[in-house]
Amino acid sequence: MTDFVHIGKPCGKIDGISLATGREKFTNDFYIENPLYGAFLYSPVPHGEITGIELKEAMAVEGVVKIYHYENTPDRLFTTAGQGFPEPSPYDTRLFDSRVRFAGDRVAMVAAETEDAAQEAVKKIKVEYKELRALFDPEKAADPESPKIHAGNEYAKIPVPYLPEKNIAAIIEIGFGDTEKGFKEADFIEENTYKVHYASHAATEPHAVSVYFDERGRLVIITTTQVPFHVRRIISSVLDIPLRMIRVIKPRIGGGFGGKQEIILEPYGALIAWDTGRNVKIVLSREEVFQSTRTRHPMRIKLKTGFKKDGRITALSMDALMNNGAYGSHSLTVLSNTGSKVLPLFNKIENLSFAGKTVYTNLPVGGAYRGYGATQGYFALNQQIDIIARKTGQDILEYCKKWHIKEGETSAVFEALGEGKEGVSQTVKSCKLDSCIDMGAAEIEWYKKRGKRIKTEDGWITGVGLSIGMQGSGIPLIDMGSASMKMNEDGSFNLFAGATDIGTGSDTVLGQIVSEVLKIPLEKVLVLSSDTDLTPFDVGAYASSTTYVSGTAVKKCAEKVLSQILDVASEMLETDKDDLKTEPEKIVSAKNGKNVSYSEISIYSLYQANQFQIQASASSVLPESPPPFIAQFAEVAVDIETGRIKPLKFVSAVDCGQPINTVLAEGQVEGAVVNGISYALTEEYIFNKRGKMVNPNFGNYKVYTAADIPEIKTIIAESYEPTGPFGAKSVGEIAINGPAPAIANAVFDAAGIRLYETPFTPEKVWRELIKQGIV
C-alpha cells in the first residue's frame, strides 16, 4: 500500500521554479492590446433607492468611453456564487440595481482609455439616493418592522426555503431522536451563545480580469478565478452571450481561499468588451477587495447540550443564525455545512437538532471562505466539549477519543444534511483521529502543561487547549472533475485537467498521480489545467474536492492510457497483455524479459502500424465524501494585566489519508493554521454607524506576518482512504477550523475565562478578566 514511487513524496511544485524566477503570469500580467479600463463607483449609503444619476461631468473626462449603471445594463437576476448549476444560492443580484443594499454596493462602472481617467470619472458621477432604513442586526432581520432588503422578484433556483419578504435567505431544520426527552434525561445542561466575525480572505493577489477578442471574435477572459467553467456559464447567462463565444482561462492565481469562487468581476469585464468591441482590464484595489467583494459569513450559534455525569451527551441542539449581508451568496450551503461537517464528529448523540437561518442585512456580503461553515460550527462545538469535559472531571483527550466517530461508523447527519438537498449516507472508512490526538498531545507536552498555569519570564500565564474536527472531500454525487491525456513520442504525456490550481499545487499533485500510474518521472507529465477551450470540465477548486474528486478522474484517465500502452506493447512484443508488467518508462514481458520503452511504443502507435493516438479521458463523481480528521493544540500565554494573548506553539496532527505530496499537504495545513490564528486574534472588520468597513487596508486589518507566528508543528498521520486516489483524502480546508477554539480553550486553561466571541482582542479579553474578577 505504501511502496509508492511518486506518491507521498515532498517534490517541489512543477511551477515552482517559474514562480520563483518571476516568469509565471497572473491575470494582470498579460499584455492586453489597447484595453479599456473599468472602474467602479460604490454606494456610500447602506440602504437606498437611486433617484438620479448625473453623468455629464464624468463623461466629459477625457478618455471616458461609457458609463454603465442600472438603466443601461441587463435587468437580470443571478447569483455571484460560483457553484454548480442550478446554484443553491438565491438569484438576488443584478449587475447594477436601482436599489443599493450596503456601503460598498456597486452603483456604476466607468470604461475609459486609461486607469486614471476611469478613476477620475468615477469621482465625478453624481448620484442622488433616497435613503432607506438600514438593517444591521441579524437578530432583528426577520422582525416584521425591520426594513426589507429584498422584497421583489428574487427567487431561489432550487426548491429550498427562501423568504426574502422576511429577510431570510435560507432555512434549515433537521433532527433525529427526541431532544426534549434527551435534555430531561441529562444530569447537566450547558447552553452557550458563540459568535464568529467577518473576515477577508486577503489573498495577496487582488481580483482582476483581462479580456480580449481572439481572431474570430470570441471573448477570451483571463481571470482570477477558482471556478473557470462556472464563470463561463454565468457570464453567458447574465449577458446573453452564447457560451460558445466565451473562453475562460485561469492563469496562475495568487491565492483564493473561497474569495475567488465568486463571479465578482468577470461579467463586468465581459460587459464592457461585448458592448464596445474593445479589450478590457479591471483590477480591484485592496480597499475594494475588503469592502465590496466577499467575506467569511459571521454567525451566532446557540449550542445547548444535555449530558450525564459520565459526560455522555443525551441531547444536542444547535441554533445557527448566519449573516449573509446584502446578497445571499452561499446562503444555504455554508449554513448547512455548519451542521453537516461538524455534528457527525460526535456521532453517539441520539437526540439532535440543527436549526439554521441565514438572513440579509445591509452589511458586506458573505461568501465561500476556507472552512465554509465548519469554522463557525467548530468554534462553538469545541468549546462546548471542553466545558463538558471539565464539568464532568474528565481528561478531554480521553473524552474526545471515546466519543468521536470511528472507522466503520456512520452518523445520521450525513444523510439528513447535504448541500442544498438531503445528504448522502456514508460510513467512515478511514479515521486516525485517536493517533492524531496522541501525537499532537505528545508534541505539545499536554500533560506537562494542561492546568498547570505555568508563568513565563515576563509574568504571563500559559495554558493549552484542544480542538478536533473533520471536513469533507468534495460534495458527494454533485462535484465532478474530469481530465484527458495523450502520449508523445518521447514517452511524455500531456495531462489536460479541468481542475483549478489556485496556488495550492494541485497541478503538481495531479501530475504525481499520473507519474505513479505510469511509472514515469514527474517532468514527463505536462500539466495544463483550467482552460474552458482546452481542458475538460471540472467544477473548480472548492469544497476540498480537487485531490479526491479531480485526482480520481486523473487516476482513471492515466489507467486508461496505460491499458492502451499495454495493448500496443502486447502487439509489439507479441506477448499476451496479461504477461506484461509496467516498469519505469517501459513495458516488460514477464515471460521472456523482452521490453519496449514508452518512447518506442508511442512512435510505433503514431507512425508504424495500426496507427492511433494513445489518449484517453475520464470523469469522476463520487458517492461519498470521506472526511479528513484533525487534532489541533494551542499553547498560549495570557497577560492578565492587559488582556493580550500570545500564541506560543500550535500543533496540528491531521489524517488526510495518504498525502500525495507531503510538503504541499503540510503547506496547506500551515497556511490554514496561520490564517486561523490571525482570524482568532487580530483580523477584524470594523464598521462605522453606516455599516461601512472603515479599516480596508493591511495597516488596520492585521494579517499575521512571519514575525508574528508562534512555533508551528504539523504532523501527518499514517492513513489510507480506500475510496481515494492512492488513499488520499482532502487537506485544504480542515486546518483553519481549529485555531480559534483551541486558543479559546487554552485561554480558559490559562486564565479561567471563556471567550465566546471572536476575535479575542486584548480589550475583549481584559473586560472578561475584569468581569470574572481576575484582574
Binding site: 524566477t21 503570469k25 495568487g254 485592496r286
Partner: protein, 157 residues
C-alpha cells in the same frame, strides 16, 4: 518626463509622469515579475531592491530614483542560471501560489548578503513587512535557512 534606471544591471530609459511610482513604471515596461498587492506599502508584495536595499516599489516615485540601481527577482536568477535562493524556495515548499515569492526572494537575497548566517529572529524580522496568505510562513522560514546553507556551501540537509 524621462529617466534612466539600472534595472537588473542593464540601463533602461523610460517615460513616465511625475506622480508615477516605481511599481507602475516597472510593470508598464514589461517588468511584470514585480507584483502588486495593496498599493499602500503595507503588504510587501511589490518589494524590489533599490541600490541593494528592499523597498516597497509602490511607495517610491520613479522620478526620485532616476539613475539608481533596481533589482527585481529576474536580476537574482533565471531559468538557466538559478540562484540557490530560488532553488531553496521551491525545495523547501516556500512557494505556494507564488504571488509573494518574487518579493520574498529579493528580500532573502538582501538579507543573506548582509547576514549570511541569520538567526531565526533575523529572518522573521527581515520578512516582517511581507505578507503571505498561503504558507503560514513556516516553509518560507525554512526556505531562507536552506538558502543560507546553500549559499555558504553547506549541504542541503
Amino acid at each position: 518626463m524621462k529617466g534612466a534606471f539600472i534595472i537588473n544591471g542593464t540601463a533602461e530609459t523610460y517615460t513616465f509622469g511625475p506622480a508615477d511610482t516605481m511599481l507602475s513604471v516597472l510593470r508598464k515596461n514589461g517588468h511584470a515579475e514585480v507584483k502588486s498587492g495593496c498599493g499602500k506599502g503595507e503588504c510587501g508584495i511589490c518589494i524590489v531592491l533599490l541600490d541593494g536595499k528592499p523597498v516597497n516599489s509602490c511607495q517610491v516615485l520613479a522620478a526620485s530614483v532616476i539613475g539608481r540601481e533596481i533589482t527585481t527577482v529576474m536580476g537574482i536568477g533565471n531559468f538557466r542560471n538559478l540562484n540557490p535562493i530560488q532553488e531553496a524556495f521551491v525545495e523547501a515548499g516556500g512557494v505556494q501560489c507564488g504571488y509573494c515569492t518574487p518579493a520574498k526572494v529579493v528580500v532573502t537575497y538582501s538579507l543573506l548578503r548582509e547576514n549570511p548566517d541569520p538567526s531565526d529572529a533575523d529572518v522573521r524580522n527581515a520578512l516582517d513587512g511581507n505578507i503571505c496568505r498561503c504558507t503560514g510562513y513556516v516553509k518560507i522560514l525554512d526556505s531562507v535557512k536552506l538558502a543560507a546553507k546553500k549559499l555558504s556551501g553547506g549541504t542541503d540537509d
